[in-house]
């Protein structure tokens, strides 16, 4: 988006906001897949948005619900402020109003076609606004890191680590190592 388009959309968005376009923010999120367990960090809506993102970001063979549950589980280890910001980021990503301002879309992310969803991801990635770029990476990275932690994706990329338990740990008895301590 060049500077002129950016400004034009900003003005258009401002007009929509004045005319009560805040209603755009109220278009409900489209259900993507139900979690199979209670969520620790993500709100119900955040979870649905994340599933929609995971579907576009991770390989088609990956289970987007499982990835999103993995993200929820991992984020338990982050400070509460990070957990809160992550939920906010997902809300912003979904929201049609900023979507109209910046990406020229009138539907929430979860209601877009796969092609349009990819375009939104690319808009965030290529944005002039630092927070949109880093937000995109935060969402993308955590989905992909969790996705590829699962061995189901490994054969497709040719990754073949030794099986669990392939090695027997040495007893670290220093006398056997010829080391005087």
């Amino acid at each position: 988006m060049n500077r002129r388009t950016f400004l034009k959309r900003g003005l258009a968005g401002g007009a929509v906001l004045l005319l009560g376009g805040g209603g755009l923010a109220l278009i409900p999120t489209k259900e993507q897949g139900a979690p199979t367990r209670a969520l620790a960090v993500l709100g119900a809506r955040s979870f649905q948005v994340l599933v929609a993102i995971a579907k576009r970001v991770a390989p088609p063979s990956a289970d987007a619900v499982k990835i999103s549950e993995g993200v929820d589980s991992l984020l338990r280890r982050a400070p509460v402020e990070v957990q809160r910001d992550f939920n906010k980021l997902l809300g912003l990503f979904e929201n049609a109003l900023p979507g109209l301002l910046f990406d020229g879309r009138v539907l929430p992310f979860t209601r877009l076609s796969p092609e349009s969803q990819d375009a939104v991801l690319a808009h965030w990635r290529d944005s002039r606004l630092t927070i949109r770029r880093t937000g995109y990476h935060a969402l993308r990275r955590i989905c992909l890191a969790v996705a590829y932690a699962d061995e189901s994706l490994w054969p497709a990329v040719g990754y073949s680590p030794p099986p669990v338990g392939a090695f027997t740990p040495m007893a670290y008895d220093d006398s056997k190592m010829g080391v005087s301590s």
């Binding site: 937000g135 995109y136 932690a149 040495m170 190592m177």
Partner: protein, 521 residues
């Protein structure tokens, strides 16, 4: 000598997740069990002092190190591996376990470069020791950890490509020294050594300390020091559940004659700040991260970048660049989750990148921060919850250094036979031959969120020095300038970064200072 199974069942080792409230008394309380804390605790315990070690992370061992990131990364890294700088420009890889970062590092050992120690002396009022004072402690640690130089014939392909590429460019390059014994080349140092070949603190000095009578409480988070006048009277903390995540509502206190914080360069300043010890903004200031950028190269032959010692060669050819920020070059392993997060783009393009794993070697440039006035490092502050927050605005000169370093990485990779080189920009900047390098890299954007930056080396934040207006602890003994029984013994005392992987620098300095502390009992 103690075996780990025995250590875990030792009555001196307390799992905080299964414990009621604890009220402990000792001579010296050491917070943190990584490179600084384990050395300190073992030296003091062997000198006959009654030592209590406090560790927030879990006590995991080889049987838990499954070579699977799913099982290990969340448990062994701070914030489950998700820690990042405030603007999210930089991912922070930092250990969190009994043994700290030494459990997950890639075993690279360097003594602190002599010129760095001299810079501290000349420019940062570090007069309390000289390089010569550190040498016997490096020697002792090298012996205990069986530090040895890698034979060139054992380099894996990932490291071989870097080594050969640098040599062909006419640059200095060498094999590394590693703290391993009977290494089986599994390649999984970063996820905890599955065979106990890595001589981390987990299998060396922590058992030594416990053998000598030290106690260890793990799953125990140090919340704050309580101070009265010019002394710390006790440490207060919370016990955590068996995954080290949520407080169990049980508390612990440690009353001691002396307190040592060895939480590392982010958690030590955070603990001091939570204790109300800010020293007019000096605590948390000048945090150095050795910021890293990567370059992925595709070769005709197999690389298999997850087999063999992950780090065994390096080039310090560009470490000293005068007025420009220096850097050094090393290799990094390919673990699927780590790589997937670092690899550019999403969807089909990302999958295509991942599918070339067998032929891909990834090399990194590690920037040496803290030696130029306009590269002042970052700052550790507290979030509302009390958790640390690292603010590290990347200055323009560092981005300039990254652009320069990216070109050198590509040159070395092509010289080593690469058929294609890609940056980790999103989307990546791709080069097919050395002729493309200047054009492609000059056109790439170096800015927050354009190219991923990483850190695996955290230093500074509680600088040592003899000018109390510029530092947090004295350089002769790492004692706080005002609080008479509080010491900081870890990588946070470094007044600059190091220009080398930090573990041995922390071991050596900690051993010197713990020895001095033991002598003053």
């Amino acid at each position: 000598m103690t075996k780990l199974a025995v250590v875990r069942e030792n009555p001196h080792v307390i799992d905080g997740s299964a414990s009621g409230d604890l009220d402990l008394k000792c001579d010296v309380c050491v917070v943190g069990t990584g490179a600084g804390g384990a050395v300190t605790a073992s030296v003091l315990a062997e000198a006959g002092l009654d030592v209590v070690m406090i560790e927030e992370g879990g006590y995991w061992s080889a049987a838990d190190f499954t070579m699977r990131e799913k099982d290990t990364t969340p448990r062994l890294y701070q914030e489950g591996g998700t820690r990042a700088t405030k603007d999210l420009a930089m991912t922070i890889l930092q250990g969190r376990a009994v043994g700290g970062g030494t459990v997950v590092n890639w075993t690279t050992c360097f003594r602190t470069p002599e010129d760095v120690v001299q810079t501290w002396h000349d420019e940062h009022d570090v007069k309390g020791f000289a390089y010569a004072d550190l040498v016997p402690h490096y020697e002792a640690i090298e012996k205990r950890l069986v530090v040895a130089k890698v034979d060139e014939s054992t380099l894996n392909q990932n490291n071989r490509k870097l080594f050969d590429g640098c040599k062909k460019m006419g640059w200095a390059a060498d094999t590394l020294r590693r703290n391993v014994y009977a290494c089986m080349q599994t390649g999984f140092c970063g996820l905890g050594c599955p065979v106990n070949a890595k001589r981390s603190m987990l299998v060396t000095l922590i058992p030594d300390a416990i053998d000598a009578g030290a106690r260890l409480v793990f799953h125990a988070r140090a919340d704050r020091f309580v101070t009265l006048g010019n002394a710390v009277t006790k440490l207060e903390g919370s016990l955590l559940d068996s995954e080290g995540i949520a407080p169990t509502r049980k508390k612990f206190t440690v009353t001691a004659k002396r307190f040592v914080t060895s939480g590392g360069a982010i958690n030590s300043p955070a603990l001091l700040l939570r204790s109300g010890i800010a020293d007019d903004g000096r605590v948390g200031a000048r945090t150095f991260l050795h910021p890293v950028i990567g370059s992925a190269a595709i070769y005709d032959e197999d690389i298999i970048p997850y087999r063999g010692a992950p780090q065994s060669a390096a080039s310090h050819h560009f470490a000293h660049r005068g007025g420009d920020v220096g850097f050094f070059l090393e290799a990094v392993p390919w673990y699927p989750s780590l790589t997937a997060g670092a690899a550019p783009t999403f969807g089909a393009e990302h999958l295509a990148f991942m599918k070339r794993v067998d032929k891909t070697a990834t090399h990194i440039a590690i920037a040496i921060d803290g030696f130029h006035d306009d590269v002042p490092g970052g700052r550790v502050t507290l979030r509302e919850s009390g958790a640390p927050l690292v603010d590290y605005p990347i200055p323009q000169r560092l981005w300039d250094a990254f652009r320069f370093a990216q070109k050198r990485l590509a040159e070395a990779q092509f010289a080593g036979g690469a058929k294609e080189v890609a940056t980790l920009h999103d989307p990546p900047s791709r080069m097919k031959s050395p002729a493309d390098i200047d054009r492609v890299i000059d056109a790439a954007s170096y800015d927050v969120g354009r190219v991923p930056v990483f850190t695996a080396h955290q230093m500074g934040g509680c600088a040592m020095g003899d000018d109390a207006s510029r530092s947090v602890v004295r350089s002769e003994d790492l004692r706080h300038h005002r609080l008479e029984n509080l010491y900081v013994i870890d990588g946070s005392v470094f007044p600059t970064s190091l220009g080398v992987n930090p573990q041995e620098s922390i071991y050596g300095l900690s051993r010197l200072m713990a020895t001095r502390l033991a002598a003053r009992r």
